[in-house]
């Protein structure tokens, strides 16, 4: 039988977000895989340029529902660097605490999704029930379950009261007990081990070559963690170890994430117990710059990078987001090589993809003769988009740009 190429996505029951994979099969075996991104492009980077720094922070917080604090903090760190703001210690501690609580809820969510993708729905139900503990803590501290809005230019927006600190510590004990139970399940449950071992194999060399980051890379023995390598916020004062594993497969990724959860509980305990006194934020100017900054941040999924260019006005001149999934998504093609079609959902889910973070326009506009025109400036791009929308029956030629 010859080779068959089948499309998976953009709409597919196994994947929650629209993304397209073209998979070439030889029988059940995958020969080659192509990843096409760009279905969720929302133009967030461009829309930041038309907004003030405070407004842009809220837009960037909505890049991703799960790592919302990640993007807001990464952006605000860069802006503070340009403005030369010295954030008070207490503000940094609160920021870091929310970051670690966010990592917990992201990893517990991932554990449930991974269980669901391999048909172990019992794990999904129990891990998501336990995730509610950390969601309730986030709601208690920030006011809302997602999109916490805990950042402000120059510090944290809300303080943490002693009662809340007590609640957080209580929640950590409960969560640690539950996570230890999941670690026990992951090391004992034979169906889980057999289903995940040697699935989505990514050797250490390949992981380095493809530049994988975060838990995906750490499960292949790539010992990188921005929290330790380039410490920001309150991480220089925290004691933690970077969890790595040499299983190189999906099972290794489960172990790394469960290990990171335990580290996160310890980190939050350290933060709550050593919370310094003092103000939580400093007053920030409305006009920032001129200057530019690259900000690094360890998101639950890997390293997040923001580039900010300020020109001395109230609005940023350029904001660039490199979400962790963009660095990891190409490794999926390598992981699935010589794998089976039935492993596609769990291997894709194993990098904890967030396609709405990742998606950006990669699009070459062709001349009538079929050759690419190269790059376009904003004015030409706008004219092109007006023409394109006219063909769809919408006239944007009179629309104003903010």
């Amino acid at each position: 039988m010859g080779k068959v190429t089948i499309p998976i996505g953009p709409q597919h029951p196994a994947l929650k977000e629209p993304e397209s994979f073209a998979i070439t099969l030889d029988g059940e075996k995958i020969v080659h895989m192509n990843v096409n991104i760009g279905y969720n492009h929302r133009g967030i980077e461009k829309s930041c340029e038309g907004r003030t720094y405070t407004q842009a922070m809220y837009i960037l917080e909505r890049v991703c529902g799960i790592c919302s604090h990640t993007h807001a903090t990464c952006f605000i760190q860069g802006v503070e660097e340009i403005a030369g703001l010295e954030v008070p210690k207490r503000g940094l501690y609160i920021r870091t605490m929310i970051a670690e609580l966010e990592r917990m809820h992201s990893h517990l969510l991932w554990l449930g999704v991974a269980g669901h993708e391999v048909g172990f729905d019992t794990l999904l139900m129990y891990s998501w029930r336990d995730r509610e503990i950390v969601m309730d803590l986030l709601e208690l501290v920030s006011g809302n379950r997602v999109n916490y809005g805990m950042n402000v230019l120059g510090g944290a927006r809300r303080d943490i009261s002693p009662e809340q600190a007590k609640e957080i510590l209580k929640g950590m004990d409960l969560l640690e007990e539950r996570t230890k139970y999941y670690i026990q399940v992951a090391s004992e449950e034979v169906t889980l081990i057999k289903r995940l071992s040697k699935v989505g194999y990514l050797s250490h060399e390949d992981a380095l070559k493809l530049g994988t980051i975060g838990p995906t890379g750490r499960a292949s023995g790539v010992d990188t963690d921005t929290r330790r390598d380039d410490p920001y916020a309150a991480y220089p004062e925290l004691k933690f170890k970077v969890v790595t594993d040499n299983h190189n497969d999906v099972y290794g990724r489960v172990i790394v994430r469960l290990g990171e959860l335990i580290e996160s509980y310890n980190m939050v305990r350290q933060l709550v117990n050593n919370l310094p006194e003092g103000p939580i934020s400093v007053k920030a100017p409305r006009k920032i710059g001129p200057g530019e900054a690259v900000s690094r941040y360890e998101a639950p999924r890997g390293e997040d990078i923001h580039y900010i260019k300020a020109n001395g006005t109230e609005k940023p001149e350029r904001v660039k987001v490199r979400a962790p999934t963009l660095a990891n998504v190409q490794s999926v093609a390598k992981m699935l090589e010589n794998g089976y079609l039935a492993d596609v959902p769990i291997v894709i889910a194993a990098i904890d993809p967030c396609f709405s973070c990742t998606d950006r326009m990669i699009f070459s506009i062709k001349n009538p003769d079929g050759k690419a025109t190269g790059s376009m400036d904003w004015k030409a791009l706008r004219e092109y988009s007006i023409e394109w929308h006219k063909k769809q029956g919408v006239d944007f030629s009179k629309a104003k740009i903010r």
Binding site: Y58, R62, R129, E132, V141, G149, Y181, E188, V190
Partner: protein
């Protein structure tokens, strides 16, 4: 030790327990004190500095001058992203985030909430009903 059915005991243990699911529309959970819900506007406190309008990421607030030191506020609840930055930006605490969150609406006109202008002195119960 590798054994099948590692979660079996946990599952059986929960058979005698109540479900973890919250019975939402029937039993409502108390919202935390910092919850950011529907905005309310106190017209008598507003000084018309427009800081809320400048900081709103969603262009959801409109302040119009109706007379000497009297300002009308129009909040588009369908645009609001409930970040409550306007509440933090307001120097006179003329805006407040309430705990009301059940704001789904079939009629799009009802999303627009207008708080009529009021005299600047503090008067009890000046909050006007939505149109």
């Amino acid at each position: 030790m590798i054994k099948p059915g590692a979660m079996l005991r946990e599952v059986l243990r929960h058979m005698a327990k109540k479900p973890a699911t919250e019975q939402y529309p029937f039993v409502k959970k108390e919202k935390p004190p910092k919850f950011r819900g529907k905005l309310v506007f106190y017209a008598e406190k507003c000084i018309g500095c427009n800081m809320c309008v400048r900081d709103c990421p969603a262009n959801a607030i409109k302040i119009t001058k109706k007379g000497d030191k009297q300002f009308e506020c129009e909040i588009m609840m369908n645009r609001c992203i409930f970040c409550a930055q306007c509440v933090d930006s307001c120097p006179r605490k003329a805006l407040e985030a309430t705990k009301e969150f059940e704001l789904a609406q079939l009629d799009p006109k009802k999303f627009k909430v207008v708080y009529e202008a009021a005299a600047p002195k503090p008067v009890e119960n000046t909050e006007k009903k939505p149109e």
